[in-house]
């Protein structure tokens, strides 16, 4: 049965990788991911895994080697953060287009400039259109649980799409928490053996990866990626349910916390969702019907499911830990709004940009969100759509 250890988020993700025991890991260090790969390198050095660990000279090479290994038929992983993810960019798309089920923890960190090593979601949000599944973790336990589940989701024959599992830089990656680990045997059984459909290293059935493609085929080759991503929604729920049977921790596309009879609700990704829970509890004690929708799977975006949970609410706040310059609000805000619109719900929605570059998110900040929500719910009027939380004017 489960072992309880005190681990940082980085260590927790590294434990998940160790228990998955991938064939190939290629990595380059970048704060705040460095400690994750350092821990995994310990497992390699101690003989706890059979993994071929390739230490490359850049993140572009890390993703390239991972793509090569995965195309070759290996179960391949890497991890990165911020500028490292930016440098991988070109190959991040290629991994998805080649339908290679790579799993990559991304330790969320702000993108430069100014240079900053602390948490925000601008790195993973920036590649939300790259064709990767994106699963956000609230705490170190989820970083562990999500990494294991991501492997199953990505490798599912109906999905075959790479997945990034995010954890908030420093807040989760460097914060130590009590983590319930599965036995390695259980994880091995859960993820099973990876059977690549068309391994490049099979002389009996030679195949070509990455041919050139023009106007006559490119479009048709991109379209199935949409189906793979869409299927990931169903598979993520299945896998989350099955994981719950093994671990006692069941996962869905999101966690609707005290949402059923809620009148006002906030939609939040990552560690801040945790900070919002006690705020919701406190509001409930005061008789205010507050709820929290902690989104877990951002890609594929569960639009219909979210619209259903939010329907009938008097006011909704969406919290974004990144900017989308020139857009109508943060990336999550725009997604939630269009989900509501398409399902025919006319609910006042406000957006809060928060926590950029590691700006702390205090209980008071979340209280402010619900206070503003209360006002909007009362009047039905939104005077300011995009708000900036804990920003000096």
């Amino acid at each position: 049965m489960a072992k309880i250890l005190a681990l940082t988020g980085n260590e927790a993700a590294a434990y998940a990788m160790m228990q998955i025991n991938p064939d190939v890991v290629a990595a380059y260090p970048i704060t705040p991911q460095t400690a994750l790969m350092q821990k995994f390198a310990d497992f390699v050095a101690d003989g706890d895994v059979d993994t071929e660990l390739i230490l490359v000279e850049s993140e572009h090479s890390a993703m390239s080697a991972t793509v090569g290994a995965s195309a070759g038929g290996a179960r391949a992983m890497t991890a990165t953060a911020a500028n490292g993810l930016a440098l991988m960019w070109e190959i991040v798309y290629i991994a998805a287009s080649n339908r290679l089920p790579i799993v990559m923890p991304v330790v969320n960190r702000a993108l430069s400039a100014p240079i900053n090593i602390l948490c925000d979601h601008s790195d993973s949000m920036g590649c939300r259109d790259a064709g990767w599944i994106q699963i956000y973790s609230e705490n170190a336990q989820e970083a562990y649980d999500n990494t294991i589940q991501a492997m199953r989701i990505a490798e599912h024959p109906d999905v075959l799409t790479p997945a990034m599992v995010t954890l908030d830089g420093f807040i989760i990656s460097h914060g130590m928490e009590d983590i319930r680990l599965l036995e390695k045997k259980e994880v091995q059984k859960f993820v099973g053996e990876y059977k690549p459909p068309y391994p490049l290293l099979n002389p009996q059935h030679p195949v070509t990866y990455g041919p050139i493609d023009f106007h006559d085929y490119y479009f048709e080759h991109k379209r199935p990626q949409v189906d793979g991503m869409e299927n990931a929604k169903r598979v993520a729920v299945q896998v989350g349910h099955e994981f719950g049977q093994k671990s006692g921790r069941t996962y869905g596309l999101f966690d609707a916390y005290r949402m059923e009879d809620a009148e006002i609700a906030a939609v939040i990704l990552g560690s801040t969702a945790g900070t919002a829970r006690p705020v919701v509890d406190e509001l409930r004690q005061r008789g205010i019907k507050a709820g929290l929708l902690k989104l877990r799977v951002f890609r594929p975006f569960p639009a219909m499911e979210i619209a259903k949970v939010l329907s009938g609410k008097k006011a909704v706040a969406v919290l974004d830990r990144s900017l989308s310059f020139g857009a109508q609000g943060g990336p999550l805000f725009c997604e939630v709004c269009s989900a509501l619109y398409n399902e025919g719900h006319r609910i006042p929605v406000i957006n809060f940009i928060y926590g950029l570059g590691g700006r702390a998110v205090e209980i008071e900040n979340i209280q402010e969100v619900y206070q503003k929500l209360g006002k909007v719910a009362k009047t039905g009027n939104v005077t300011k759509i995009v708000n900036y939380l804990n920003l000096r004017e």
């Binding site: 309880i4 250890l5 005190a6 090593i117 602390l118 948490c119 705490n139 908030d168 830089g169 420093f170 807040i171 989760i172 460097h174 914060g175 130590m176 928490e177 009590d178 560690s271 801040t272 945790g274 900070t275 829970r277 006690p278 590691g358 702390a360 998110v361 205090e362 209980i363």
Partner: protein, 190 residues
């Protein structure tokens, strides 16, 4: 949230404030509590003032915001008393544990502090005596345990031994445990 204990650690880079925060959390985990331990996020350098935090709770901990009103503050280096406001947010009933040669009364005067319970211990000398190096974190953990009464001493000693038995030589672990026990005994209050 009342059943949660929050502790803030002040040190200088290299004195082991972050490790102290983690070891205490780990000991609490050994006692079946839920825990969090985290550094203040920055680019730490040796000698620069650093802060670290420990949360210990009977219930699962969801909150991920910094600690502003700690139940206890541990200061690993008394030169920090002039550099940073170590009592910031420390409530009237809060506990302040300082590594210093001075008495709690002298520290109270120096900080012109009203209320709070002040504890002092010469953790630097204890660490030199027991470990052979001026790394005051282990004895400071002992002092904080005594001052707060948050955990039994045996739990901490066992936790320390378990965590570090693979990493350090037995004499290093023995020295640290000796330091924890001695500080637990020698810590003074008003």
């Amino acid at each position: 949230m009342t059943e949660m204990t929050e502790i803030r650690w002040h040190g200088r880079g290299g004195q082991g404030a972050v490790t102290a925060a983690k070891i205490l959390a780990q000991a609490a985990l050994g006692e079946g509590r839920h825990i969090q331990a985290f550094p203040e996020y920055g680019a730490e350098r040796r000698g620069a003032p650093v802060r670290a935090f420990t949360r210990i709770s009977e219930e699962p901990i969801y909150i991920h915001s910094p600690i502003h009103t700690p139940d206890a503050v541990a200061v690993l280096d008394s030169t920090l008393l002039d550099a940073v406001d170590v009592t910031e947010g420390l409530p009237e009933a809060g506990i302040l544990v300082v590594n210093t040669l001075e008495s709690p009364g002298t520290i109270r005067k120096r900080l012109t502090l009203k209320g709070r319970k002040i504890f002092t211990v010469d953790a630097t000398q204890i660490s030199i005596d027991c470990i052979g190096k001026p790394i005051p974190n282990a004895p400071m953990i002992g002092a904080v345990m005594k001052a707060t009464g948050i955990l039994p001493l045996e739990g901490l000693v066992d936790g320390f031994r378990n965590k570090f038995s693979e990493k350090f030589r037995p004499e290093v672990i023995k020295g640290n445990i000796k330091a924890i026990k001695r500080a637990y005994k020698e810590v003074k209050t008003e």
